[in-house]
Symmetry: C2
Subunit: 304 residues, 2 copies
């Protein structure tokens, strides 16, 4: 079997080509299309697409179906970065090592490119013909992961908490905030990958186990993000380092310290692995969880 | 048969109740939910829902299905108003005769409430179980009407044209801009209403005629909007009057004068009626186009 690095490289390359086809240059209005391409094709680890591809292996999901889910997820993630970077939000002019979308195209333009990308996410998701119940599940997973009960709700809590200092969120508040802001879309990525495959394999027990896995990976991801904000430099991150402390943001590091944050991330990684262990004991999924396990380890290891 | 006024009043009441159920108060994060409710439940003519209900009569669309389409359309329309009103866009603190969403809840909060409403639109659209091909069509119609090829693309052209003065758009540019900014979602409303009904009635000839109708109504709607910006006062409009001239925006009135703009709106109204005439000659749709015809007349008459 190919190594994780080779698999991830191949999947990323496959994803980039699919994204290039889904957002071709030259579509009218050309500059809007260019801004959308700048937001999506500008790099990134493609964690959500990789999670969708890995989860799709459990249900023998056909490639065009998982591609649509992967693109939709990454369009949502990309638009959220564009809006998070706006001057009225986190105000960051650097993303993926180059100008953020509004810094390059303008403030109003950034709002609109993000808005258009969210619509595009649902368009691309509905571009593949799948049975009605499956499409319904996919649209709902994406909308719930992205909306007020998920990503947008978490971002709302985040801007309300920023700068609140000692009166800011405690550890449980922070966990809830990030379970929505980052966790919901990561969990949606895993579930959407699985939901893109065969009905007879996409059963409630699977979704339950993957939901546990996705929540744990989402938690690990955010803790590691907080760790890297402190330990990595701007060049490595491709975005401004040290911003959390500057803005007086409560983070896992500010609340727990670096060592304890690392311990919590490792614990979340073990929780993710435990969820997969249960699936490995099921003959329908045995031998198919390896990429998900490697992805969980990849997420945790970035913070070491 | 009930009068248009009674029908519209009943449908609006029905829609408000459905919107209240779809966006209940008290959902966490409560203040985000409140901002979304402020944006949607704050009034408006509900033209898109009315168009969807009227078009649904042609295909015997079941009420829960058209409700879902109507809610989705109005959530998209509402979010677009919230984002259009932002300080970095049209910068308007008045909407539906009260504070616009960002004026009441904050700038970043307005961005997020709009973002969450767009996700909510697709969630509510997928909340009704319908055959796969039908849901696919509905999601695509909404996403294309809302996205870069539709509303967002038109708004992009609009911000690029604003203040451009004599070097700004000519009549054909303006028509293209508004066919995207306003027309695309109005056309989507008509088509989604029809697409919510029975497959045997939702045939290509119907979509073709309704597409012609929707484009004509969309054009009339925008011309009338431009006329009202000049002829009505802020209290009547519920939003700031006279803004177009203030901002040096090219409008149908600035390019054509008031009389010629009124003539063009009436012509668009006749084009809409002609599209319906063709359907009336089809036994499948005969006697079912009345509400659409009345809606076209309603849109045009507002500008007189």
């Amino acid at each position: 079997m190919t190594s994780f690095e080779d698999w991830a490289r191949e999947r990323r390359g496959h994803f980039e080509a699919a994204a290039e086809r889904a957002l071709p240059a030259g579509v009218f209005p050309e500059l809007l299309q260019e801004a959308m391409r700048w937001s999506v094709l500008g790099g990134g680890k493609r964690v959500r697409p990789l999670l969708a591809y890995a989860a799709g292996e459990l249900t023998q999901a056909p490639e065009p179906a998982v591609d649509a889910a992967a693109l939709a997820l990454e369009f949502i993630h990309s638009y959220s970065l564009v809006h998070d970077d706006l001057p009225c939000m986190d105000n960051d002019s650097l993303r993926h090592g180059r100008a953020s979308t509004h810094a390059k195209y303008g403030f109003a333009e950034g709002v609109l490119a993000g808005d258009a990308l969210q619509a595009e996410a649902f368009r691309v998701l509905a571009s593949v013909a799948v049975p009605g119940a499956r499409l319904q599940r996919l649209v709902r997973l994406l909308a719930e992961g992205a909306g007020a009960r998920g990503m947008c709700g978490g971002q709302w809590l985040d801007i309300k908490a920023t700068g609140a200092g000692v009166s800011g969120p405690g550890l449980e508040d922070l966990k809830r905030l990030h379970a929505m802001k980052t966790g919901a879309l990561i969990r949606a990525a895993v579930l959407m990958g699985a939901a893109s495959g065969e009905e007879r394999l996409a059963v409630p027990e699977l979704f339950e186990a993957l939901s546990r896995y996705g929540s744990a990976v989402g938690l690990a991801f955010q803790i590691v993000d907080d760790i890297l904000d402190v330990t990595a430099d701007t060049a490595t991150l491709g975005k401004s380092a040290g911003k959390d402390r500057e803005e007086g943001k409560a983070t896992y590091v500010s609340l727990l310290g670096l060592d304890e944050a690392r311990r919590l991330a490792a614990e979340a990684g073990r929780e993710a692995a435990a969820a997969l262990d249960g699936l490995e004991r099921d003959p329908r999924y045995a031998g198919k969880t390896r990429r998900l396990e490697e992805l969980a380890r990849f997420v945790v290891s970035r913070g070491r």
